[in-house]
Amino acid sequence: MAPESDFITAFESLNKTTNLPLWIAAHRLPAQKAFLAKGFPTLKDEEWKYTNLKDIGTSKFSLGNTQGNAHLDVSDPNITIDPLEKACLEKETLVQFAIKLSSQVAQNAFSLLNDALLGEGFLVHVKKGAKVGNTLHLTHKIAQAPQASAIFPRNIVILEEGTELCLVETEECSPTEGETALLSPLTDIILHENATLMYIKTFPSSQESTTSSFVISHTRCHLGKNARLLGFVDRAGPKLSREGLSVMLGGNGSEVRLWGLFHTRGNEHLDYNVNVEHAASFTVSRQFFKGVAEDNSRGVFCGKIRVGHGLHKVDARQLTKNLILGPTAEIDAKPHLEINSDDVKCTHGSAIGKLRDEEVFYLQTRGIGRQKAESILSKAFTREVILAIKEKRFQENVRKHARGGKDGS
């Protein structure tokens, strides 16, 4: 049975609900058709060539209810957080605007599926000029689900002009032992003029990499004039995870700085897919990603920079460094540049290597066993990403909230 057809029943029952505004049905229906026609990506799709989804395709999922949570450390009148269903009724214009703009940033089978099922999740809206001092936490999780379940939460985060926010998004996929789970959140972020978002994506330390859990996560972000996105992403486990980050620098002078790390073990498979599109002049992008693959695990970093036509003073840099520790571990690092303007500074670098024997020997001569030495050195290797964050407040937040940011983790 083709896996996509599993969703037909889900779509049909969803389409019977009548208490939602008409525009939602009008939004879901074409996405449902498009998803069923397109199907899940295969290895033949360039953007998915390193990640085989066949295990997901052959799993039987039932659509679960989202165990999502959104809260601020301290409540703030300048920020509203609504369940998405409520927002679809009461803040229709905002939701529609964000969805439309985000679909211009990126679209794939999973975002279509998310559109097809649109309803669960949150709308976060920061009012014009507000600098929100405390942190917003968004959590999606599948934990102890009684049966194989799949959830597709949608979050929409809108920062109006001149605002600031720190957002920590946590994804947890720990199904009951022996059960399969698919967690596939889509987060759409709109940064208006002069808005700054500090964005941290991480996973809880309690998450074990079970044999049959999958996380396919995607964030799409559109930046207006002089807007700024500082992003840090840290992933490990479950069995298969894919982290998509699609950023469109849509306004002149906008800037994105992304840092990321991964550390895979066992049979884990992790795929970072980062797309930065410079669609305006005077835009800046930075990507610095480091990964470690142990045992029989596999890590992937595909980073794409696209610079549009007729732009000026575009400055883009991308760097990825990776470490292979296991005899059968694998890392694929693929930079991809597409430059359509002349007035552009663009650099990229990619390295994959092993630990230096001299470093390991040095630690061993101080009585530290080989395994422990490798563990110390690989943690030190990824820690460099955090040390590279020069924006002090963001680095503090990363150290506080991200799993890989903590010493000794």
């Binding site: 230096r356 024997d357 001299e358 470093e359 020997f361 040095y362 630690l363 061993q364 001569t365 101080r366 009585g367 530290i368 066993g369 080989r370 422990k372 030495a373 110390i376 050195l377 943690k379 030190a380 290797f381 990824t382 820690r383 460099e384 040390l387 010493d407």
Partner: protein, 249 residues
């Protein structure tokens, strides 16, 4: 404590050591001198267990719990936990690892092996500060990344700090004097002298006699062409200084 017999060793199939004999007892400090390429560093790396060097003949025995054991059968970290310490000629830079964290990991590895208590951060902090004071090293060393952006002299002093923390039974100091200015040399030598005791032994490997102005060895050996060609006392080092290696070889 250490007994080396007819040691032959190669690196990349090239023979470097061609029959070294050396016996070191507790409380002794031996200086091994020799021209470049004589095999001094190879000898130190073989004692520490560097994987690139292959012993082709002979034996290295080391006393563990009053019994002479085959040192070559132990991994580098096992040797270290049994009390062998190599101060590197070129200490390795390890970005991302703080000196403090490194020292504590090393100390606790040895403590756990010897059945002692591992120290938590607070306890170790007190312990390491006492060591810093005893050998006159600034505490800012601790928060820096291991050997990263250290000057040549600082790297060598950091090796002495590690030695002070680990209190080895047998320390091999591989050209610890190389690349040091007079002041640094004096500081490093003072640190080494502080750590000498009747319970431990040291092998000081050097090209030049000048560190021996500050550290007086019990025995001096001349290594040349992969063999110890002469052994003597402090007078032999003076002879090298006055007449050069050519005269002796």
């Amino acid at each position: 404590m250490l007994e080396i017999l007819d040691l032959h060793a190669s690196v990349n199939e090239t023979p470097i050591l061609k029959g070294v004999d050396l016996t070191v007892k507790e409380g002794e400090l031996h200086a091994i001198m020799g021209p470049n390429g004589s095999g001094k560093s190879t000898l130190s790396k073989i004692i520490a267990g560097h994987p690139s060097f292959r012993v082709t003949k002979g034996s290295v025995k080391y006393e563990v719990n009053f019994k002479m054991k085959d040192l070559l059968a132990l991994s580098p970290d096992e040797r270290a936990r049994e009390g062998i310490f190599l101060a590197f000629q070129y200490p390795v830079e390890v970005p991302g690892v703080s000196n403090f964290e490194f020292l504590r990991a090393a100390f606790n590895a040895a403590a756990a092996h010897q059945g002692g208590e591992e120290m938590d951060v607070m306890e170790f902090n007190d312990f390491v500060h006492e060591k810093l004071r005893s050998i006159g090293i600034d505490e800012e060393f601790l928060s820096r990344q291991l050997n990263v952006e250290f000057s040549g002299g600082e790297k060598k002093r950091n090796e002495i700090l590690q030695m002070a923390v680990l209190s080895p039974r047998l320390a091999i100091l591989d050209e610890t004097d190389s690349g040091l200015d007079v002041d640094s040399l004096r500081e490093v030598a003072a640190g080494i002298n502080k750590l000498r005791s009747p319970q431990n032994a040291m092998i000081l490997i050097t090209h030049y006699q000048r560190i021996l102005n500050y550290i007086v060895p019990d025995k001096v050996h001349i290594l040349s062409g992969g063999k110890i060609i002469r052994s003597g006392d402090y007078e032999l080092a003076k002879e090298v200084e006055e007449k050069g290696y050519e005269h002796i070889i």
